[in-house]
């Protein structure tokens, strides 16, 4: 999960997967999102070198890849922490105390939105609706959804993560 770009680009397995993805779609370009997902899962983020590599593979411009990477919230073009906390910031969650929760998380971890803790454990982000408006405030840590999270519960939850 934490390979460097060079390691990844010299990884035979990875290159084989890329070739496979290219053939999967009627048009090569369509493989872009799948490739990005693959890279993200391999590296944790999509570095500039990888972006350029994909651009070359798919005969697109690097700028275009950059546009796609920055467009989707789940792609990262910079290294992120081991765990990702996504806090819903939409109105229902905010009304249910999302703001207080977010501030609690922020002070507890000592980071602001979009930042990573110095030990590389946590990255904090706000997202639009997590589709749990009836059970706000909602947060998502990595791929696990937590609803009706109070600050105290949050403290309990994060104990399980390394």
């Amino acid at each position: 999960m934490t390979k460097s770009s060079n390691e990844l680009l010299s990884d035979r397995e990875f290159l084989r997967k890329i070739e496979k993805l290219k053939k999967l779609y009627p048009e090569e370009k369509s493989a872009l999102l799948a490739m990005l997902h693959l890279c993200q899962s391999e590296m944790g983020y999509i570095s500039l070198e990888i972006q350029e590599f994909i651009a070359k593979e798919l005969k697109l411009s690097p700028a275009h890849i950059k546009g796609v990477v920055t467009f989707y919230e789940m792609f990262f073009d910079k290294p992120k922490g081991r765990n990702l906390i996504q806090v819903c910031r939409t109105l229902p969650c905010m009304l249910a105390g999302g703001e207080i929760l977010f501030e609690h998380i922020s002070t507890k971890l000592g980071i602001k939105e979009g930042q990573t803790t110095s030990d590389g454990k946590w990255t904090l982000m706000t997202v639009e609706c997590l589709a749990c408006c009836d059970k706000g405030p909602a947060i998502m840590i990595n791929d696990t959804l937590y609803t009706r999270v109070s600050p105290r519960e949050f403290d309990e939850i994060i104990k399980d993560y390394r």
Partner: protein, 560 residues
């Protein structure tokens, strides 16, 4: 083909035409930002909303094609679509769109270079609210980003119309630009380390409807409402892109492309555009000068030409004379040169220097001088491609150079070595170049933007250049120089020519006599333009009025 009713006007819309294109063609006013005639259609800005009968919502005119309805379904029995562009609903929608566009737009018109030609200003004035209801802090974006060598980007001013991105994708196909991030945080950027440095990059500034992209060389130089635009033609290659030269108080501030569908569409290359920067700080002289004891001495016009003519007129055989001409000469100047040569050398001598360079498939052409095809049409001789000039001056006694810097980077000894017999070098040029410094006689000519004339491009398009700035009195176009020469010759004592052959003097007189009645003695552009008309049969009956800003197409000239 469909019939559309727009605000009471019946318009026929072609099949591949959108509503906006049809409306603009018919002079119906619909505001837009992202639409550009030579770019693809994206419907990004939503400014061109119109009311279409039968549609629940307002539609963007720029990407609405008109289908042809079956006969029984036609509205009012004959229309395929009924469109309203001036209802309150539409105006309200435009006001709303403008408010959205201006939510995070800084109010910095006083320092913005686009102010005065900014579409946001124009439409705000027309549709916008006097003040915004947005009371929160505006979003902040990167400012003063150097996207490329000549381009500065201000993301706060950007309205994300993506014209620049589409230009790079579709016209230059270099694809440097992209939209970064999403939603309200979107802005334009390049990939790291890959700047917007293609040969047409500054065109993005032209097509930017707001002040987000600014031309670095023109940045903060002058407000656009002070500028005076004059139509001209780019002299840097045989494409002859139509340009507008913006001047302020006799100084060229910038060069922008002018729409000419036959030549350059809406664009021009950066090289041509930066001509305005290149001609700055070049040494200029304002009166003719003669080299005496190694230093140039300024002479009065009459004294100068008397000395010059008595030194060169019919003194050499034509094989002792070499005249190097330039594709920077306009048709009128070429025609005037023919007269000059006829009188001074007894026949039309001289070769055009054929300078070539890179070319691409968009605009830049191989021939690096503007008027080769004019010279070709006027039946002048050319040198071979990019030839060295040494053999041209070898064994010659007199060398006349017009508008070319042939001795660039050469010293006097080099020339002496190549051409020991060389007696006199006469240079006619705008700038006081190295060649001019090495010559014995130097005549300053009016520059490309300082004179009137006509030029013919590679495709046979005849265009007119106009006087964008007025040069000082001593700097004239070459045709005015020839007019002066003719006037002075008329008054000169023939014994000054130092020619023993009375026959030749008689022939000079004969030529003079002929030209006396042809009005070319009167200085100015028009009589020489008449000469050009006489020389090219195709435009015999052309008047200056017929020469619109697009110019006219000559079938016989040109490559194809």
């Amino acid at each position: 083909m469909a019939l559309v009713w727009i605000d009471g006007k019946e318009i026929v819309v072609e099949k591949n035409e959108t509503l906006l294109q049809a409306a603009l063609r018919e002079g119906i006013y619909i505001p837009y930002y992202c639409y550009h005639p030579s770019l693809s259609i994206v419907g990004q800005c939503r400014m061109c909303l119109v009311k279409i009968e039968g549609m629940p919502k307002l539609m963007t005119a720029c990407n609405t094609y008109v289908p042809e309805l079956p006969k029984e379904k036609k509205i009012d029995g004959k229309y395929d679509m009924k469109v309203y562009t001036r209802t309150e609903e539409v105006k309200e929608a435009r006001r709303g769109i403008l408010e959205f566009l201006l939510l995070n737009h800084p109010l910095d018109c006083p320092i913005c270079d686009q102010a005065g030609e900014c579409q946001l200003q124009i439409y705000s004035y027309e549709y916008g609210n006097a003040r915004s209801d947005f009371r929160f802090e505006k979003l902040h974006f990167p400012k003063r980003v150097e996207l490329g060598e000549h381009i500065v980007y201000d993301a706060e001013r950007c309205i994300k119309c993506t014209r620049c991105i589409r230009f790079c994708n579709e016209i230059t196909k270099t694809q440097e630009l992209t939209l970064i991030d999403r939603g309200a945080n979107t802005y334009v950027d390049t990939f790291e380390g890959k700047k917007l440095n293609n040969p047409y990059s500054v065109c993005t500034v032209d097509i930017c409807p707001v002040g987000a992209l600014t031309f670095k060389e023109f940045r903060f130089k002058e407000r656009v409402w002070f500028l005076q635009g004059s139509n001209s033609v780019c002299p840097e290659c045989s494409r002859n892109c139509a340009i507008r030269v913006d001047t302020y108080k006799g100084e060229i501030m910038r060069i922008v492309p002018r729409f000419n569908p036959e030549v350059n569409n809406y664009f021009m290359c950066d090289f041509g555009r930066l001509l305005s920067e290149r001609i700055k700080n070049k040494e200029l002289r304002n009166s003719p000068a003669i080299k005496e004891n190694g230093a140039f001495k300024v002479k009065s016009e009459k004294e100068f030409y008397t000395t010059l003519l008595s030194k060169i007129t019919r003194k050499y055989n034509s094989n002792e004379v070499s005249v190097i001409l330039s594709g920077r000469m306009t048709n009128e100047e070429i025609e005037a040169y023919k007269v000059f040569s006829l009188i001074v050398f007894g026949e039309v001598v001289g070769e055009f220097l054929y300078v070539t360079g890179d070319e691409d498939k968009i605009l830049i052409k191989k021939e690096k001088r503007a008027n080769y095809f004019g010279a070709k049409t006027l039946k002048m001789k050319f040198t071979k491609e990019n030839e060295d000039v040494t053999h041209l001056i070898k064994n010659k006694k007199l060398v006349v150079i017009i508008r070319e810097n042939v001795f660039k980077g050469k010293k006097e000894e080099d020339i002496k070595k190549n051409a020991p017999s060389l007696e006199t070098v006469v240079t006619f040029d705008t700038f006081f170049t190295e060649t001019a410094q090495l010559s014995d006689f130097y005549v300053p000519l009016a520059g490309w933007f300082e004179m009137e004339g006509t030029v013919i491009n590679f495709n046979g398009q005849l265009q007119k250049i106009s006087k964008c700035i007025t040069p000082p009195k001593g700097r004239k176009p070459f045709y005015d120089v020839v007019s002066t020469v003719l006037t002075i010759l008329k008054d000169m004592d023939t014994s000054d020519f130092k020619s023993e052959k009375t026959k030749e003097i008689e022939s000079i007189k004969k030529v003079l006599e002929e030209f006396k009645n042809r009005e070319v003695m009167n200085k100015g552009f028009y009589p020489w333009f008449k000469e050009v008309k006489n020389a090219i049969p195709e435009i015999k009956n052309l008047s200056l009025k017929d020469l619109t800003s697009f110019g006219i197409f000559l079938k016989e000239s040109g490559n194809g």
